[in-house]
Amino acid sequence: MMDNIKFGKFIRKTRHEKGLTQKQLAERIHVSDKAVSKWENGAGFPDIKILEPLAECLGVSLMELMQGERIVEPEIDRETAEQIVAQTISQSGQEEEWKRRMWKVKLLLGACACGIIYLICVGIRYLAWQEKGQIPAKLSEASDCLWYENPVLFYVWAGILVILCGAGAVYLLWKNESIREVKVGRQKAKSFLTILMDMVVVLLLHTYLSNIANNEQQLAMLPEVIPVNAYVTTADGSRQAGIFIKDNLVQGLMDSSYVDKLHMDVRLKAGIDRVIPGQWNTLDLYLEGVNCIEVSDCIKESDVVWNTGEDASFLKGTEAKCIVSKKLFEKKGWKLGERVTLCQWYYYREDESSLELFANPLQTMEYEIAGYVDTMDKWDDRFVVPPDIIVPFQVVRNCYAQEKIPFFASSASFELTDALCMNEFKREMKELGFCSVAPTVPDNSLNGVALNVNDAAFISTAEHLRQVIDTVRAFFPFLLLLIVGVGYLVTLLLLQSRKKEMALLRSIGLNRRKCFRVFFMDQLTLVVTGIVAGSLLSVLIQGNYGGNSALAGGLVGICYMAGNSLALWKLLKVSVMEALFAAE
């Protein structure tokens, strides 16, 4: 093998003969002075392309340069020349191969680092998706989605990528870099302790993150578990049906994004065909306009005998159809699908503070009988009598608008879409004109102006959960610092006895940076093993195949290795003289 030392000495000697400094020589052949110093110390070999200009600068032949000495004989035989050239090419090739390998290693390590950071970001995103319930319950469902749409698949691919890159980098380094001297496998006890420590830390962090995630999930699901409902009442909360709710409030509730399952009704009087003033027996029917059949808790869609092709959906719209009581249906001898003419009269008050009700004609309309129902007698007692006829709410409202009469709804109740937006909801209702119920202030009117919101249980539970989450979360930065501390202390304690090895590596000629890298890779192998084992164990124990394991693993990896690196750097400051030389 070509002797680097001999080669280096020859360059130095001929350089001195030429009266050149390293810097001057470097400038002439367009390399750095560090490269020249490296060659002269035998620590490297120039690229094959530089040999000729180098020989020219030094005033020697290419053959002399490659042989590392002046050639005395005028000619050398072909075989010797070929041997010299082959050795030089091989030497230069080794350098090139080393540089190429180091680029691959750097690329792989960079990919590995990006992969870990990516995993952490996806982990955080995954938890957010999990909160919204967008994660498929089973892994088998994941295959239906495109891989980039589904966080589980994303994770799997990213995880495979990181493991491959990491394994590739470690393999390349192991093959050619001097990490074998630390012999991870031969330090059985210390290696096992490091792996065990990492497993435990990953398990603990995973438990911590899962605890936060579970509480957040409970909080997100709270509106479903404890739905918050509200209804419009009089100012003192004493009445919630048969009241007068202004049209602007009705419209506000219909338009609000915080209102769900809005149930409204409006009460009227009606007569069939015509009403004769003075003959009030011709105005003896109670008509109710509702926007869905669930307005009454007693009547279900399945209780109604429907005409063919009919169901309760017409109540949401403006079709002139109706549901009649069976008693009325049989009394009048009506048939399903028959059209009946109803004279509608509305209730009004002479002033808003009055409790006395009067009625006036509203509009006469024809309705098609969509069905009849037998359970009118079981109508719930909400200070009103059960209706004889049920028509769509909006049809009645349109009649008011056509006759230019101010519309009032008789009752309104609903659920909140997102109870977690309680404050925004209350602000909006206040802006509409609703007030809070004031039970201590008696109200003898029928004005539906207050909102009674049943949120006590929800608020109490939500506040408790929020407190728990905030308290646990507050520890997060300290937890990360603790992991850094654990990494620092464990490394310091376990590697204390290897300070002499570090000093010895330094004395043999490995610089501090390379020495650091050797031990860092050694520790990284152990830490990654511990993290993978800990993550798998946490998945098995907690049954969560998702984000928390990878997030915990990634965070432990970064924080533990940060502490580990600090400890390594401290240990590498060992004085070689003190560590190795005989005591004076």
């Binding site: 030392i5 035998g42 080794q94 074998r180 001297e181 012999k183 501090r512 005989a582």
Partner: protein, 227 residues
């Protein structure tokens, strides 16, 4: 004996350090030179500064004053890690072999640092161990299974493996019996006279000093050439 080239030269080298708030001048204004292919001894009492001076020659620290030259180039201007890898090597009294590497792996280490292929490094390490007179059964043994003499010869093989020119030995026979001591000294002498190494040993042992070509004596940090 022909003219030998100078390889190491110390000019007015001084070194001091702080020890419990007291300044200790370990090396005071030492000037000396060492030639290729010679065997040197530095003798002196404990605390005279021999080991400190040797560590300066090894580039493990820099002198506070003065300069050390390696073939005319100042050591302070070099990459001292590369210097120790390629040109100078240290042999210790306590051998300091890597406990978890075999004898062969210990010798391969500097070669691997120089990016030699594993097979070639293994071949060269075997050759060196043979040269040191070690049996083949030793090659795959761990240091704790070897005798003191065997360990020291492995350490010398490791020092020679990188192909440098200077061997600095700090009390290489301090932990050896007389039989092994003679073997090790003979080996170092052979490396100097036949292989052209500059071998510098620190020793308290007069028998070892007698085997060398030149002797320096250090007293209270100062050096004088005795022979």
């Amino acid at each position: 004996m022909g003219m030998k080239m100078e390889i190491l030269r110390a000019e007015h080298v001084s070194y001091s350090y702080l020890s419990k708030y007291q300044k200790v001048e370990a090396v005071k204004d030492v000037s000396c030179s060492f030639e290729k292919g010679r065997f040197y001894a530095i003798v002196g009492e404990s605390g005279s500064g021999k080991s400190t001076f040797m560590s300066l020659l090894a580039g493990l620290d820099q002198p506070c004053d003065g300069t050390i030259y390696v073939e005319g180039e100042p050591l302070c201007g070099m990459d001292r890690d590369a210097y120790r890898l390629n040109r100078a090597a240290v042999v210790y009294q306590a051998f300091h072999l890597f406990p978890l590497l075999t004898a062969q792996e210990n010798v391969m280490l500097p070669l691997e640092f120089k990016k030699m292929r594993k097979k070639e490094a293994a071949r060269q390490a075997k050759r060196l161990l043979q040269r040191m007179g070690l049996e083949s059964r030793i090659y795959r043994q761990f240091p704790k299974m070897m005798s003191g003499g065997e360990q020291q010869r492995v350490a010398i093989a490791r020092a020679v493996a990188a192909g440098g020119e200077i061997i600095l030995a700090d009390e290489p026979t301090g932990n050896l019996d007389s039989g092994n001591e003679e073997n090790v000294v003979a080996l170092l002498k052979e490396l100097a006279h036949e292989d052209g190494y500059t071998v510098i040993v620190i020793t308290h042992n007069q028998r070892v000093a007698d085997e060398t070509d030149h002797v320096f004596c250090m007293r209270d940090g100062r050096m004088e050439q005795v022979r």
